[in-house]
Subunit: 200 residues, 8 copies
């Protein structure tokens, strides 16, 4: 399992020191999550970083040949999806983004059904009413993990609505990680896929 | 607005007396909701009842010519859907049932898209994760009202999950009534459609 | 259904670009919601904007002749009411404001009963204990949609109290959208009224 | 302050023994609340009982000359209202019932405005959305205490909706007791009115 | 009932304009609540203001001769207690402060028992576990209204714990207003005491 | 730590078999908790049982000489207090009951202050608003553990109010176990007191 | 994905009819879940049933050669574990039970570490504080899915505590299904493992 | 029991004045908690301060010879652990830190089992799923008090998840203080240990 440096509550130089130490010890991959602008600035000159949104990665694993999809309901889910995507990439997966296919426009989702079915695994990210993983799981048999986000306002109740909806999903085979936990979703993929390697 | 006799907490003979009094006063329609077996037995010999599930109706309004759909996600939603359907019928609507089209089997829902689009108004009933109204609203422009049900167990939280999800829906134009309130949903239709009559 | 540009989380120039592209594509209406001061500044020179509060509109639909009311309980509900009002206007409705008729001063509400009854449709906006839609629905038969707001403090629980109260309303025919979702309420009107056009 | 024998969890003979002991000690009033049928049967031959619903009283106080109103939104609130009413009676108040004036039929409430204004104090009992105390407080200046009830189903959340709504009331001077606590509401009246005696 | 100008969400000059208009119309008392520093600055030159904490008053009522107590559990409750106290003062009550007698130091509370008993009415303000009104009501028969505050952190859940505890109080005759609603508590006193005047 | 046989969900003969096996293995003490009438009947002929309420004990430890108090707010807390008391007894503590000293009658609590101070440890059991542990902790320095109970109705929210209140207690040194967990409270005492033995 | 017949709310003969029809159509596997005693009796003479607890299966898939573990924290979790186990079996997995290794006895869990590591996939079932999946995930790299159960009383809040704890798990790679959803957990395994077959 | 100066909501000079007055009165220990940078600056020149994180201490008690452990799950729990540690130190305990032994890495915890067993008392601090106190209590018999923290995001629900999990712990003898209440946990130790002194 990858072990990430969770940046909130740590000073930029503290995060930087940990990252450098991990790189020197040969840890792979090294991942710093939830970096704010100051964390990112402090990490800027640590060489060979891959940065996406608020996550930085060093020493990515070599390609596993697996093709993973990161699917989002809307723009506001991109931050969490980015965290999942770069972690998947660091773990050696080829990442395919399928963005903005929320259930409110069912046809856009249907148009991507073949793409969804062609991938090895899906991370499905949605906030508000959190219906997307249910619809995706009703559409394709691909293994998937659902990520509720704190997207939205009011009745979204900071992700609680989506979390409850996803765990109550009427579609079989949906499992769920914590609110906004894109990194955790990628770890779920890693856990299932690693065994798979061993087994192949 | 129809005024229903809400049976729980009333004795069978009390419900029967109120119903008879309303019929004698010429009220139309007369509706008794949430009758248990004993209420239904006591109402059995009040002539000209229409009964569906736990609801009894007398003096239905004459046909408005409107065609309403009552849409359910699964079997467990039928009790609430029945309450909505017989109330719509009592209010003079032609009722069309579109059952068991939950989002977990998106294709069954898609197969009914033309049927949904052809109706004048929809009541969409769902429990668990409550995704169906969002998907229906993303599929057709028909006016609709969503009813969360207390269907399911565990993470359904007795309808709270579906209620939150429906009010947080990412699809435009979804409005929601209380948990298990099939009668209320039919009243929403009555309120919007009555004006419409006046205006036509 | 109108599709709005939801501004939070997007940069001012990103919002501006989307708006211009939609206008160029001839979309009508184009609506940008929840703009902060910087979003509004960036949109200022896009010609022919209608602005009310935090919402901007281009290409409004032509008049439908429908007369809609936007009713508020108190001053703190005006932000949400404004979002509903300008969206209704963009959709071709004549908007009538009936402000500050909260149930705490029942007589002010009663004084407006005739005005409420004369309108084709009502959006009723209230926070705190959320009693206003229940009282309005008890007073007139006009179709209405209720909007809970996050107005107030403490026991208002950021709109949850009003949301629960409105969905538990003892008045028949009240349906509800999400907390603070003025745009959504106008979409409910659009959905019901559009069909109505078709039907007239 | 009256001290009641709370019957649930006590055997019928235990309740009977406590009641007899209190009567023999000359306590006034003696009140047994929430009696089930077996409690009531066991208390039947304790002489000079006043019984209303699930409450029994002995040794009522002599009349204070105060005129109290017990106001309900609907039939389902009567059980709680009965508990309040017989306790007020035991404390020497003349009790006036104003039943079934829920906000869904505002005109029925308005018809009773003069009656409400003529009373010395009001206990206002309501479940579901709990709007009645707010409307009553907006209508008259009479002192009042609000009682939320667990009436209703679904979105009533066993009284939580009404409790939250009443404590968030936009009407000034509304205070609230616990869900279904009719006895407690009468004690609030006793506390305020006793001092008043002393002060008169 | 006094009608307050609730300042949050209004510009300083708007609050100032409303206050001046109310004074000119002879309203008594005029109360502006929850003023921030800028509201207070804008109100500074409106003559004859009484200011306490975040509340400003003009045209106080003349003395009723009633002696009210405002009781707090701890320092963090003073802001809410101040709002209650100056409102009581504006309504013509003599205000007595009994501060920092939280149940954690029961002896400090007991030392003030005679003071509490000597007053005509009490407003009891507490956050955290909200035990103080229960203890006060167990100690004296004085009429009282309880105010939960959002004092504290963690398990205080922003006043929800205190609100629930106060409405579940095992002490008879405790009624409760909304979280942090010092103004509302004073209105409860006004409502009960005004009638009392009329009755004396 | 004692290990209890938790009876719910087990058949009477299954509970009996486990108990006999533990006795034969020389376990001390053997404790069966939450027995219903059928569990108790099945255990009746297992010799040398100590039974209190719904708990049965065999092989109690010999006396530690420690004097423990079990303190309750009201009658409805006795079931939970009994579970704590017999477990303490099984662990070799002398148990002193101090019953029905809820905060609503502060003087009854004060009358027992010397008794409370004389004991080595206290388990304080209360439902509803859960104020008793706070008051006891404000009165004496004795170590104590608080047990919230699901006593009461409505605003007690099945023990959640008391649980929140006890963990938010303003009195220093209060710690809390789960709702209705009398056995768990006795285990807390065992854990702290066992070490004490070792250390003495 | 297997489609189960969810029995609650269906009559025994209705369940029986659906099962027979599915068998006749050659569906494999056919699974009836949450059968009560009457459902089981009605299904008794449908030949070749595999029954475990409240679940019946016909037409199991042939062995995949995969070895799955079903891990429980305590006895009360067995009902949910049984539902998962027989579904896994119906899907062609060899099922290994590792029971009663709750975190309260960490050593019992550690003693099974090698067993856990040797399996291809784990379903980890726990109620109360729900710590077991976190500990298992911290111990082995095996893919796992967590199932919160409504085991326990009081602070377990009918599974909500375990659900929240599992989705907040500090261990990487834990994903979660709904409360008590043993069938759903087996479907998660099916979804991930099916693809795996395809890929092998 | 130590009485702390709780700094939030007090001006720096107010905190400083109280501290100096307490020192002059000879109070021991004097503790100021939750100081922000300005509070700490104002307290800087009050001589002989011990400062750790956000807590300052004067007049610590002399050594009791007791050895206390402060155990944390992760870095984000250190702020709360620091508050507990310096308070324990002020009360005369030798403090041993055992940091970052969260259940996700069970082996790190096991490596410290002997250290945990050797201490007289443990304060166990954890956020997120709050599993650590359960695991520690399953590993050693040392008396312990659990502190849930508001660490984490999303499904941690600001400490509510950890609070619920800890009070629902399946391990015997775990008791819990409020969210983030490190000071309170040290007071629990003081309460149990003080009696112990008296008793030794």
């Amino acid at each position: 399992m990858p072990e990430a440096v969770y940046s909130p509550g740590k000073t930029p130089s503290h995060v930087r020191d940990i990252v450098i130490e991990l790189i020197e010890r040969g840890v792979a991959p090294v991942i710093a999550t939830r970096c704010d602008d100051e964390h990112l600035a402090a990490l800027e000159d640590v060489p060979e970083a891959h940065v996406l949104g608020r996550t930085s990665v060093w020493n990515p694993l070599e390609s596993t040949g697996r093709r993973a999809g990161v699917v989002t309901a809307g723009t506001a889910d991109h931050v969490v999806a980015d965290e999942a995507a770069i972690t998947l990439d660091a773990l050696g997966h080829e990442v395919n983004r399928i963005d903005d296919v929320g259930v409110a426009g069912v046809h856009r989702l249907l148009d991507r059904a073949a793409d969804l079915a062609a991938l090895d695994v899906l991370i499905v990210v949605a906030g508000m009413e959190g219906a997307l993983p249910t619809a995706v799981a009703g559409l394709v048999d691909t293994p998937l993990v659902a990520v509720p986000t704190s997207t939205g306002y009011g009745s979204s109740f900071e992700g609680m609505t989506a979390l409850a909806a996803m765990t109550a999903s009427c579609a079989p085979g949906v499992s769920v990680v914590g609110i906004d936990n894109g990194f955790g979703a990628a770890c779920v993929v890693a856990r299932w896929m690693r065994t798979r390697h061993a087994g192949s």
